[in-house]
């Protein structure tokens, strides 16, 4: 048995070797003049093009990023101690590519497509890492919802497929947690997720992989990882590579969610490359094209027209602020590129409001038109109510006499704040969200003590699942809340609260 296997392998290898034919090649070459901090200066290679992949003696590769009369400036991809002055460099005649396709699902790869999970990867399709964004005529308006499973976001800052929504906030405010919840929530919607870690700690990436695996969301996820110990050029390439992987799915008519975690580190990697290439520096020492760096990446997200298969790529870029300063260079740049932002605050986070969403500063510029009609029906005045509550709560702190209507407003606001809290990785379906908002709208929680609102909410959802699961599923399927569905759920909610009294 084993003998025949060995024979077939041997004959396969033999046939491959017999097929092999050597064609002598003539190619241009250059000579390494200097190599410092992964930046290589090269003499020669006069006809090379921008962004072309170059190969060094040995196994190292580089990316040509600067052409001048004095030669070529390139960055090394990966670490190599073999690149020394005098080394021969050849152009490869192609731009950097990345392997793409559904074989990548459930896998972890680095920005040049090498598997990082120790398993073999057999892929025969490649895409250039840098690619043009879809044109105006190739796009269609964002019109279908992208559920994140977080009540606060789906109700007040709804996302649509093909939208780019920035997640911005200080360190340790739950930015990655929001992106992860959104990814976990996609497993039932058949949306493919791509998670791109840029300059993250390897332990953080391992944690993300662990979470996705335990939540069963890893099977429709691709992870592109360049950790903090990778050289700047790899970190620079990572989001473009991840975007190319996502594009392949999008152009095949699939819906994709891509998370760039995070673009601050990406800008820092690009800054260090640019400074080492001696490019002139501008504000915060970033080079002049740092805006274009991110705009050309995020423009590649789109909702494609029906003619092109109607696929979409929704992007959730993450940007980290320092001490809540969203007017720093990179945050303002990315805010102006994206179709809205989710702003997280460390004060809210520390006060136990998680997701720590600042509703006033968070917006979604296109998502409202893509929202499910069921959610649209029940979430109309939520933002306004929450804003009123926050305003009034500030005054109420002074302990002044408050009239009955103000007290009611405060009580409602407190309950709403509690209802919007969600544990990490705990996602809610559309019907659950609608039910909670219906109950809130009918003031059902008003007599429940603030502390037990979360527990009662949980019990209520369990009760609904037991008693009217068919209606709940109908809402999840259709995204609509018909008058009869509304009555069924309202009655069930009334029953539940009558029992708990």
């Amino acid at each position: 048995m084993i003998g025949s296997d060995v024979k077939s392998v041997a004959s396969f290898l033999n046939s491959r070797i017999n097929e092999y034919e050597y064609k002598p090649k003539v190619c241009e070459y250059g000579v390494v003049r200097s190599c410092t901090d992964d930046i290589v200066q090269i003499d020669g290679l006069s006809t090379i093009s921008y962004g072309e992949l170059i190969s060094f003696d040995g196994d190292a590769y580089g990316l040509a990023l600067e052409m001048s009369e004095n030669g070529v400036g390139a960055v090394l991809l990966g670490k190599s101690s073999k690149v020394v002055p005098g080394c021969i460099v050849r152009g490869t005649g192609r731009v950097a590519n990345i392997c793409v396709g559904s074989e990548l699902l459930g896998r972890i790869v680095d920005p040049i497509g090498r598997p990082l999970d120790g398993l073999p990867l057999k892929v025969d399709k490649y895409r250039p890492i840098e690619n043009h964004a879809p044109t105006i005529m190739q796009r269609s308006p964002v019109n279908s919802p992208m559920q994140t499973g977080l009540l606060a976001i789906d109700s007040m800052i709804p996302l649509g497929r093909g939208q780019r929504e920035l997640i911005v906030g200080d360190r340790q405010t739950g930015k990655t947690a929001i992106a992860l919840a959104a990814m976990i929530n996609q497993k039932k919607d058949d949306v493919i997720c791509v998670y791109c870690a840029i300059g993250q700690k390897a332990s953080t990436v391992a944690q993300v992989v662990h979470t996705l695996t335990t939540e069963g969301a890893m099977d429709n996820t691709v992870i592109v990882s360049s950790t903090a110990d990778d050289c700047a050029s790899m970190q620079y390439l990572a989001p473009y590579a991840a975007c190319a992987i996502a594009e392949e799915f999008m152009y095949n008519g699939k819906d994709v969610l891509i998370v760039y975690d995070d673009l601050t580190k990406h800008a820092i990697a690009y800054r260090s490359m640019s400074l080492l290439l001696r490019r002139p520096s501008g504000r915060e020492a970033y080079p002049g094209d740092v805006f274009y760096l991110h705009s050309r990446l995020l423009e590649r997200s789109a909702k494609l027209s029906e003619k092109l298969g109607g696929g979409s790529m929704t992007a959730l870029p993450i940007v980290e602020t320092m001490a809540g300063d969203i007017s720093a260079y990179i945050p303002t740049n990315v805010i102006s590129i994206t179709d809205g932002q989710i702003y997280l605050e460390s004060e809210l986070f520390n006060a136990g409001i998680r997701p720590a969403l600042n509703v006033g500063l968070s917006v979604s510029r296109v998502g409202r038109s893509a929202q499910n009609s069921a959610m649209k029906d029940v979430s109309g005045s939520l933002r306004l109510e929450l804003a009123q509550y926050r305003d009034t709560a500030v005054f109420a702190q002074f302990g002044a006499d408050i009239d009955a209507s103000t007290a009611h407003l405060l009580a409602r606001g407190e309950r709403l704040t509690e209802l919007l809290k969600q544990r990490q990785n705990d996602v809610m379906s559309l019907s659950e969200q609608v039910a909670v908002l219906l109950a809130y709208d009918k003031d059902m929680f008003i007599n429940i003590p603030k502390k037990s609102v979360t527990a009662v909410k949980k019990q209520m959802l369990e009760y609904l699942e037991q008693n009217c699961s068919s209606t709940m599923h109908a809402i999840d399927m259709s995204g609509k809340l018909s008058e009869s569905d509304r009555n069924v759920i309202n009655n069930a909610i009334s029953d539940f609260f009558a029992r708990t009294k």
Binding site: R16, I17, Y20, Y22, P24, K25, V26, C27, E28, Y29, G30, V31, D43, G44, L45, S46, G86, I88, R90
Partner: protein, 73 residues
């Protein structure tokens, strides 16, 4: 260094062989080519010629590398 023509050799080459390579390149490129001849055993066998910013590679090393690339893809 890029502007210098170099002929790297490995294995047995007589002066006549080198002269044949030289005249072959001169004929192909339509002008008289002069080489600095260097022995480089890392090529394993054959030669590679560095002429005017281009490599003409006919070494065993290039073949092996190329073979490896094609067979492992």
């Amino acid at each position: 260094m890029v502007n210098e023509n170099v002929l790297k050799l490995a294995g047995e080459f007589t002066d006549e062989d080198i002269e044949r390579i030289r005249s072959g390149f001169s004929k192909m490129l339509g002008r008289d080519i002069r080489f600095k001849v260097v022995r480089d055993e890392s090529l394993i066998g054959g030669f590679s010629a560095f002429i005017n910013g281009k490599i003409y590679d006919a070494s065993i090393l290039a073949r092996i590398n190329d073979m490896q690339r094609q067979l492992t893809d």
